[in-house]
Symmetry: C2
Subunit: 151 residues, 2 copies
């Protein structure tokens, strides 16, 4: 396989997973969730986070993180709450609806992976995952894919 084809197929495989995830999320009552939302929800986590923290975790500016929070809040998946110890900070917390999306995403991703594993074979899947771990030295999530495309 050529290097270019390798890159292209890695992206294709990723995209197929994410597309299938969002198709299924839409079918299960969350049609407005987009890829960036899932990443952000995960980055906020159970303990909540401020917009600035979220920006660091996502690898984007605090302003961009703030806009993402706006979108998520408009959909009812997160809420901004006051920090009792610091009036400047606003803690973003995941709502029950947001937790439902996270729970569903995990479940659906597992199902999708199982489907792929059935298609390509258990051994081959294990080898691929091992290779991926080696390939991707994987630091921070960096979901600024849109900005990355135009960098």
């Amino acid at each position: 396989m050529s290097g270019a084809e390798l890159a292209f197929r890695l992206f294709g495989a990723f995209r197929s997973l994410v597309d299938d995830l969002h198709d299924e999320l839409a079918r299960r009552g969350h049609p407005a969730v987009r890829p960036a939302h899932g990443f952000a929800l995960q980055a906020i986590g159970a303990r909540g986070a401020t917009a600035t923290e979220l920006g660091v975790r996502l690898g984007v500016s605090k302003q961009a993180a703030g806009k993402t929070v706006d979108g998520l809040a408009a959909l009812g998946y997160v809420e901004r709450t006051a920090d009792p110890t610091d009036a400047r900070r606003k803690i973003v917390v995941v709502t029950p609806a947001g937790r439902e999306v996270l729970r569903l995403s995990v479940e659906i991703f597992e199902r999708l992976r199982a489907e792929r594993e059935r298609d390509v074979g258990v051994t081959r899947m294990r080898e691929m995952e091992a290779a991926l771990r080696g390939l991707d030295s994987a630091g921070a999530p960096r979901v600024d894919a849109s900005a990355w495309l135009s960098s």
Copy 2:
């Protein structure tokens, strides 16, 4: 590996390849080339293409394809030429500079793949590529990554 981690690592591996490619392209005299440009150049191909054809190949509107051509033309990588048989059509052709970028990209991608192969091992690499071929039923290129993110 969880399904979510699989998706994430697929993207990470892809992104690492493309980032490294563009770092190297920049070092070799093409700092302004962005990922979308490479895809577009490849889609135009040796025989040239019209903006509308390019849009179909890239999975975007003809207007978006036209803008991409504008950018590529401003960088000197393509040129719009008249179609002698149809005065409406303008054939976009790759210039020598554009061909140089394509040639360099192929070469660099091969080197990057070889590096990865050295890291993960020949056998494991072969298994991963086989798995990727199975995973990604890969029809048309579909490089509308930016649009896809915001869909």
